[in-house]
């Protein structure tokens, strides 16, 4: 287990995180600019991989009636979640009527974001728009997002893809306490170079459940951290477990976590086909067909590279997380790739 730092007050984020010189932010409103800069520092681990080609974010606050819509003549593309999507010339446009519009020029690395800053605006609207813009630009640069935790030890990489509530953070924290290195407990970027597929963090900071974290003495200060909207506390685990960051991970195992009511936890092998289908809902696929196709091919490569399992964590994990998880991982094949 990595050495622990003092269990006193710990800063929840990296205020000193520098943003790269090739990233520029234009925003005339000082408070909004500070807020977005803070969010960009939070995303600094992922942003670092987007360069060195320039990325320019331009933010404009507008009254609801002044938020631009999708221009006439734009080609309608399939919607993505709450966004209507269109293409106009070399631009991709994501729109929420009267609330927000993101216009992307992927070739130039420019994202222009308009948003309505009304009193009843959602608190996570702007971070969501910034994430959308950066992930779309990243996917055009060969970096594809996946909702997954990622850890590594002894040259083996473990990816845990899953929706919120599947237990990624609890599993990740348990493994980091056991000496695993980690990228993120929630979201990573996949990239294919000339060699194997590897993963890098999009952000590192964990949102810890207080009841889970306070089980561990070194996290007893968790109550001192400011609560987030959902009551969790934000913390970079590196502050408590120095040396636990990994720069990149080559995935060896895909473990799909599920919380079950069973007494005993278990791992169960699943087919690559099953794993691929489970990855799709955890992937934010671009509305641009060419980019989306490259993303799908990367997911295919990921499942071909990995051994694929379900990880059912039951009541024994709640009672004795470290021992339970150690036993589960020891039951995985030691000759990955031999299938």
């Amino acid at each position: 287990m990595p050495a622990l730092v003092s269990a006193g007050r710990v800063s929840p984020v990296h205020p000193e995180a520098e943003l790269p010189g090739w990233l520029s932010l234009v925003c005339a409103e000082p408070a909004a600019r500070r807020s977005v800069e803070r969010y960009l520092r939070y995303l600094a681990p992922g942003i670092a991989h987007l360069g060195p080609d320039p990325v320019r974010l331009v933010l404009e606050i507008a009254a609801p009636d002044d938020v631009p819509g999708i221009a006439p003549g734009a080609v309608t593309l399939p919607s993505r979640g709450r966004y209507r999507v269109a293409r106009l010339d070399n631009h991709l446009v994501y729109s929420i009527d009267r609330q927000a519009l993101v216009r992307l020029d992927p070739a130039a690395g420019i994202a222009s974001i308009w948003f309505s800053n009304t009193p009843n605006a959602e608190s996570d609207l702007v971070p969501g728009l910034v994430s959308l813009a950066l992930l779309e630009l990243a996917s055009h640069r060969g970096l594809f997002g996946l909702h997954a935790a990622a850890v590594a030890r002894d040259g083996l990489g473990y990816l845990l893809p899953g929706a919120s509530g599947s237990g990624k953070t609890s599993l990740c924290l348990t493994l980091v306490r056991e000496g695993f290195h980690y990228l993120s407990d929630d979201f990573i970027l996949m990239t294919e170079g000339t060699g194997d597929l590897r993963c890098v963090p999009f952000f590192r900071t964990s949102n810890l459940d207080v009841a889970w974290a306070e089980r561990f003495p070194e996290l007893s200060f968790i109550h001192d951290l400011p609560p987030l909207v959902h009551g969790k506390r934000m913390l970079d685990l590196e502050r408590c477990y120095p040396g636990s960051h990994a720069a990149a991970v080559r995935p060896t195992y895909l473990l799909f976590p599920t919380i079950v009511a069973h007494a005993e936890s278990a791992v169960r092998r699943i087919t690559r086909h099953d794993a691929f289908c489970r990855l799709l809902p955890e992937s934010r696929v671009s509305a641009d067909v060419r980019t989306a196709t490259a993303h799908v091919r990367t997911l295919e490569r990921l499942v071909r590279q990995c051994e694929t399992f379900e990880l059912h964590h039951g009541r024994d994990f709640l009672r004795a997380p470290t021992e339970t998880l150690r036993g589960l991982l020891e039951s995985l094949p030691r000759d990955p790739g031999g299938r």
Partner: protein, 89 residues
């Protein structure tokens, strides 16, 4: 003679243990069995239904009428999901 045209927004991922068609327009995905993915690939090579059925009959050693019925059934299902479209003269 009916011509079959794949939807260009559909990506086929053929893994060792099954294949998946992903419609990038809707993000809906569909699992295909081995025979179905074989027919999907044939559609890329040979767009005419009769010719696809002939290739299926040869590959799986079944009579042409039975192959044609199977191919038409799959094509109707794929067209219903907008994964392909068909053109008849």
């Amino acid at each position: 003679m009916t011509r079959v045209i794949r939807n260009p927004a559909v990506v086929c991922t053929d893994l060792d243990d099954g294949a998946v068609l992903l419609d990038l327009d809707t993000t809906a995905y569909y699992s295909l069995n081995r025979t179905a993915v074989g027919i999907w690939k044939l559609i890329g090579d040979e767009p005419m239904v009769e010719a696809i059925a002939a290739r299926v009959a040869e590959k799986y050693d079944v009579d042409h009428e039975r192959a044609l019925a199977s191919v038409k059934r799959l094509i109707a299902a794929l067209e219903h999901e907008k994964l392909i479209r068909t053109e008849s003269p």
